[in-house]
Point group: C2
Chain length 364, copies 2
DNA sequence: TTTTTTCTTGAAAGCGCTTTCATAAAATGA
DNA sequence: TCATTTTATGAAAGCGCTTTCAAGAAAAAA
């Protein structure tokens, strides 16, 4: 209702020339509600525009008396500063661009929340885009966030299109590639080696007695990190056992059902399989349910390991063993790096390789 | 690395006066990389600034020939328009503010993705903030998004602080309260009645033979919608059976474990309980696991219903029955309403009450 | 052909701020 | 006391765009 009226006012407003005085409204303007500007605060508190600006941004440069008067005026007028105008004038913005593959993944959701909370507490707004694991969408998102004057960019992983990289490079802002690391980086990379995760799980299974391994993965060709985990596992497993694991893969990501289907196919093909790695927890849970249906004893007949340490892994029966990437650490280090760069505390990119954690619960 | 250099350049830049010519750089400026502006595109393509602006925003107003030259120039210069400057000049922005309680909830994650995808395809950027179910944070988020000139605001639910509402009202932008409805709205509300969900489940249980009900909830006092579901269930259950259900509630949200703990407490107190409503699926799954541990047969001994239709409900064993809110419909209607308002197709707020779906799987 | 209408284009005035730069007032030192 | 430094404030020049407004060119009508 209220907004109805307001839209009309706004549209209306455009049809008439702007009153240059800004203050003394013409008689026919009298009922028009104009958005409160800094100038209005200045007028009400009897100071100049620049003083109000200083009172907001560098209060220590304004005498206590005026500061108080300005604060009062802002409150009475319920002034909300226009950050676009501010950023434009200052040639720098308090906005951070963040690009993740999807929000429908608790790992990314967690990272997003941690990051936005930290940036928030430092006066930065985080602009988020998601790519659905598409490089093309990533490029668009990058362009979009840059066009909104992001002061820094955070992307997921190390795999980007050439154009995206160029755009980032010419934008001349700090860029962090988080979640995944390799030996190089556009600028800064903070994460884990997903290949190592796969290798690690394979060698763990073998060391603890497994003779025949299986692998269920999803979104190969889309989710490059899941693919790296799968590849690491396959290579390491074959190397250690001489036999390649039976590998079932699905197009779609995150369908728990597929975990069960994958388990079925593996056991059909290689009934002697005694340990299966799932490239994510959702799949693993699906596998676990299928074990119950088939009366396969976990971990006695078959051991299972997931990835992600999602909330389910500590609720399933038996409790799911999984690999836990250091979400909080990634988020904190990323945020801190960005803030340091923005504050001039740091001036160089860096590559930070973090450790993952193998959480052995009840599935082996 | 690249960014290191760039930061220095930018900082450096501020220490010297801006070259007013903008084009013929002084001799000592020669190596300075300045961000490409629309003026640069204009110069390279031999047209005026205004023509470039039109070529971008209203291409039909520019002759084919010039349009092509301008496109070429933009490509060679890899021009990225500055949307802040654009929004400021146009006095309207292509940014939508979206406030949700948390991203760590697949329902909201889904809605966020749907909304951003739709807005994206219409050239709008979605600015997202989360509140952790705190009204105070919601107020801050509102102020922040408004200060970034959001052209419309989307909030979750109907419960806000007075200040938030005032701010929204004076901002004079369309506002949609989604996910939850009541008889009123700040402007527009699109969602389901969570109270009805609770009542519905209770009456379903009773109609299908339940004699003693139980309820496990979380975050009462924080998540007002979960509370509404719980209250609806309690009231309806007591009304229908004459006995109040045993009600176990937890502070923290979304811990599956608590679902199991809750089940234990309920069965301890009222061993004859034959149906339990969980205010979310995560809790329900935890309850299901606990049933397995305790050898409680579901649904023969005990029936279970969750809320949310999370991905787990179709992977658990037995498959979880649950109530499914119409995520996609909420997202689509919300996005469409906002776009219609912004395009002047609609000018009034509305209240849209949607139906939820009861998905009866294997838990009763 | 001349007149009228429609299309294209450019000049210029801002959008609401930040940040020099200059100045007046106050504090400090000699 | 006067010269010097420090502090507090305001005026004004933009930030990079959009959008009138006016004018010239082209098309249509007379």
């Amino acid at each position: 209702m209220a907004a109805l009226v307001s839209r009309e006012i706004i549209l209306d407003d455009k049809t008439k020339t702007h009153d240059p005085s800004g203050n003394a409204l013409g008689p026919d303007h009298s009922e028009r509600t104009r958005r409160v500007r800094m100038q209005d605060v200045a007028r009400l508190s009897g100071v100049s525009l620049s003083t109000v600006s200083r009172a907001i941004n560098t209060p220590e440069q304004v005498s206590g008396e005026l500061r108080r008067r300005i604060d009062d005026a802002m409150r009475t007028l319920t002034y909300v500063p226009n950050r676009m105008a501010g950023s434009l004038a200052a040639k720098k913005s308090r906005a951070i661009g963040l690009i993740i593959p999807t929000m429908r993944n608790s790992a990314f959701a967690t990272i997003v929340e941690e990051l936005t909370d930290i940036f928030d507490s430092h006066g930065y707004q985080t602009f988020i885009s998601h790519t659905d694991y598409s490089l093309e969408k990533e490029l668009k998102a990058t362009a979009s966030l840059l066009s909104w004057s992001a002061a820094a960019m955070i992307l997921t992983g190390r795999h980007h299109s050439r154009q995206t990289v160029n755009m980032l490079l010419t934008a001349e802002v700090p860029v962090v590639e988080m979640w995944d690391v390799s030996d190089q980086a556009i600028d800064t990379a903070i994460g884990i080696s997903h290949d190592d995760v796969g290798r690690y799980v394979a060698s763990y299974f073998v060391k603890s007695g497994a003779k025949r391994l299986g692998l269920v993965s999803a979104a190969i060709g889309q989710d490059i990190r899941a693919t790296q985990r799968a590849n690491g596992f396959l290579r390491s497993a074959e190397q250690l056992l001489g036999v390649p694991p039976v590998h079932v893969t699905f197009e779609e990501r995150g369908r728990a059902k597929n975990g069960g289907v994958g388990l079925g196919r593996i056991l059909d093909e290689a009934p002697d399989t005694d340990a299966i790695f799932y490239t994510n927890d959702t799949l693993a849970i699906g596998g676990l349910f299928e074990c119950q249906r088939r009366c396969v004893k976990v971990p006695d007949d078959l051991r299972i390991c997931g990835f992600g340490d999602s909330i389910l892994s500590e609720a399933s029966n038996p409790l799911l063993s999984t690999v836990r990437p250091p979400h909080e650490q990634i988020a904190h280090l990323t945020a801190q790096h960005v803030l340091d760069r923005l504050n001039g505390v740091k001036s160089e990119g860096e590559i930070i390789r973090l450790d993952f954690q193998h959480i052995i619960r009840e599935t082996g």
